[in-house]
Amino acid sequence: MTAATFARAEADPRRLFKALASQEALLAIAVIGLAIVVGLDNPRFLATRNLSDVLLGNAYIAVAAVGMSMVIVSGNIDISVGSLIGVLATLSGTLAVDGAPIAITWLAPLVVGILVMGLQGVVIAYLRIPAIVVTLGMLSILKGGLISVTGGKWITDLPDSFHLADIELFNILPMPVFLMIVATILAAWWMRYSARGRAIYAVGGNAEAARLVGISQRRTVVMVFALHGFFAGIAALLYATQLRVIQSTVPPNLELTIITASVVGGVSILGGVGTVIGSTLAAILIAEIASALVFVNVSPYWIRAVQGVLILVTVIADILRRRRMAGA
């Protein structure tokens, strides 16, 4: 009986439709579709320079969203990542100005990112304090600490060799885009095929069931936050090296933009569902929309409102989907 059922399922044309209806496919279609529509209105939008600026300027958001997606899939949330990126960027820049070896300036944000996020993971997992509270506290500490230490001064006089974002691989592929693609693909592959990646979905999907099959929720959560810290470190490097100066502030609500990318990318806010491919595509889409607004003469301030609409639409769709699942 079952063998026959499978055979029919494999040949079912609805499977193609289902694959196309996946969040990732919808986002890819939206990214391309939007480019075409805006390009018809204003061809300058499609200029290589504009498109590459959009990607270069926002790759760090996509990289941070990779880690954020893991955190949300595990059933947690992190709102400290925006401030952490600011701190790590300043740390790296300060080291560079002080003449530290370039390798150290690049490595330090990764290590500190892992430590700070890993520590939050420990507090969340072992003291059983909700992630939103722990990371809210960390957000204030990092943001307040950064302003106090730097006095709001920007870092200038950065050595040329520091600018990781300037490197072009094979003279064509800019480092930020390369890192965004590599981070996304490696993370996606790892989450899909590794036993530990599977554990993240299990813990986020049903922590009690995961515990009963011997998957440690605590270790999984700490691991996820440490990884998230690693990706935040890469994001901070890209952010720090994309301009000639490092501001002591990050874009306002950076953490919310990153969370938006994850959620719009199909990561369920309830945990257990989602991929980093989706979140990277969503990060690109959001950046593209922001740029498109300028080209169609709409105030770029509308981007926040657009993000809001995207979030609500995807979250409502996700909740409705879950409810139907629970009802069946």
């Binding site: 079952t2 063998a3 399922a9 979905y201 879950r322």
Partner: protein
């Protein structure tokens, strides 16, 4: 005595031919009973007999499919709890529904506080009325200004009763009110119930503690499998008869337990202690044997299973797996030792709903399909495909989201994922609760097969026919201890039922 007047009094509440079905389950099939003014009427039945469904219909939580509820001779439509309140029906559930941060008076008058000018709350009147209510029940040790969260369970329950009275409830439903009470609080509760009866309040009292029914009730109605079995005057019956009415049904030929040679002990437990609900348990389960663990809800059966499985590690005693003494501190360790545990609450503890059938099947056996930390997809698909075939899980594909399957199919996956790990001991907690008859028969068939393959099975079930039909041996647990043991031949509904309830004629286990 109130009981003398029952016959003449017109019933204040009667329910007629109530029927109610949920997807896959017929919860009530034509139940009728009535309560008279000043009467305490007990509802008695095993878990799943339909008591809760019946009181939820009377309290307006959901409407019946068929049948009617009659109050004061008039049929009423109870669509919402508010409708029931308006006709004078109040229900006190096991989980008390109070606001712990608010005071006694505020809780009592939540939603209908006495008002002064401009709609403001008249606090003084509220306090006065609370005092009147307290005085009417001769309660002198409850301060209207105390915060409810600081009260004992018994006192909180009294607040709920007072709240019901503040609505001028004439029919008070109490669902297992003594489950969490101390002896002293039980006596005080009975005092209150007697006072309420004297005031003409009709009390519907749900319990499966027989001594309480004899202490407080005038009549008792017994439900079984959603049907009305009998209504008796308490004065004219005894506990033996009630037990027999509760459990006395013939065992359907649903249970294909194959007789297989019983092998070596797989699990040996000696004087296992884990407070508060495991108080020195000893038992043995052998290869090829199905041991049924019967008992009422709250007797400590699931807690025992979770202690063996390392969810709540033991505080004392000894566990041996295949003759070797082990110290199980976590589920992961139990799994490595070859123990599988299929939990009671499939939704909350078993299935990862958003995951696919394939992912759920491999979850407990990731070590068997993952190499160097990475999952071999082909092997995983084969493992899941085999499970789907073996358990005849009805799913459109392995990539189907497990949460979308029916309850019976979900249960098969939860069971199946453990077998992928090739355990030696299988602990099943209520393996067929809430699934339809067909899926139930299949789970029973599988259990028989697994035992035949030499698996040791410890099955917890609240359905006596299932326990008696499936088990080679039946253990009865009550209040954290094994109180009786029967062989398959000795085990009867009456004997096991009596041991569960703590009635007469209980054979003490060795």
């Amino acid at each position: 005595m109130a009981s003398a007047t029952i016959a003449s009094a017109t019933p204040v509440l009667s329910v007629r031919n109530i029927e109610k079905s949920f997807p896959g389950v017929r919860a009530l099939s034509g139940v009728s009973f009535d309560v008279a003014e000043g009467e305490a009427h007990a509802l008695l039945g095993e878990n799943g007999a339909g008591k809760s469904t019946l009181i939820k219909i009377v309290s307006g939580v959901f409407p019946p499919d068929r049948g009617e509820v009659i109050v004061d001779g008039k049929a009423v439509h109870l669509e919402r709890p508010d409708d029931a309140r308006r006709v004078g029906i109040a229900t006190i559930y096991q989980e008390l529904l109070l606001f712990p941060e608010l005071t006694v008076a505020e809780n009592i008058f939540m939603g209908h506080a006495p008002r002064g000018g401009f709609g403001r709350v008249d606090w003084r009147a509220m306090r006065e009325k609370t005092k009147e209510l307290l005085a009417s029940l001769e309660i002198h040790d409850l301060d209207p200004d105390r915060v409810v969260g600081a009260l004992s369970v018994g006192n909180r329950q009294r607040v709920e009763i007072l709240r019901a009275l503040s609505h001028e409830a004439r029919i008070l439903i109490m669902d297992e009110p003594t489950a969490a009470l101390t002896e002293y609080d039980v006596r005080r509760l009975f005092d209150i119930v007697r006072k309420l009866k004297a005031r003409g309040v009709a009390v519907i009292y749900i319990s499966h503690k027989l001594d309480e029914i004899f202490a407080i009730a005038d009549r008792v109605t017994v439900l079984r499998d959603g049907a009305h079995v009998a209504t008796k005057r308490v004065a004219e019956t005894d506990s033996a008869e009630l037990v027999q009415l509760m459990v006395g049904r013939k065992i359907e030929s649903l249970f294909p337990k194959i007789t297989v040679p019983i092998g070596e002990p797989v699990l040996e437990v000696k004087d296992l202690v884990r407070r508060p609900l495991t108080k020195g348990v000893s038992l043995t389960v052998r290869a090829g044997e199905i041991v049924g663990l019967a008992g009422l809800v709250g007797s400590g059966r699931s807690e025992l299973a979770q202690t063996i499985f390392g969810v709540t590690p033991a505080e004392g005693g000894e566990i041996k797996i295949r003759g070797k003494k082990v110290d199980i501190r976590s589920p992961g360790q139990a799994r490595t030792l070859g123990i599988a545990y299929v939990p009671e609450d499939r939704g909350a503890q078993g299935l990862v709903r958003p995951m696919t059938v394939r992912e759920n099947f491999s979850l407990a056996a990731l070590g068997k399909v993952a190499f160097g930390g990475f999952i071999d997809r082909a092997l995983e698909r084969k493992l899941a495909g085999d499970g789907v075939k073996r358990f005849s899980v009805k799913t459109s594909s392995l990539e189907q989201v497990a949460g979308k399957l029916s309850g019976g199919n979900q249960q098969k996956i939860v069971l199946g994922k453990w077998l992928a790990n090739q355990p030696k001991l299988l602990i099943l907690d209520e393996p067929t609760r809430g699934i339809d008859v067909g899926a139930k028969a299949e789970i029973h068939r599988l259990m028989g097969e697994l035992a035949a393959q030499g698996l040791a099975i410890l099955m917890i079930s609240s359905e006596l026919p299932e326990v008696l039909g499936m088990s080679d041996r039946v253990l009865v647990m009550r209040e954290g201890r094994i109180v009786a043991e029967f062989t398959r031949e000795q085990a009867t509904q009456e004997a096991a039922g009596a041991a569960m309830m703590g009635g007469q004629g209980v054979e003490q286990a060795a």
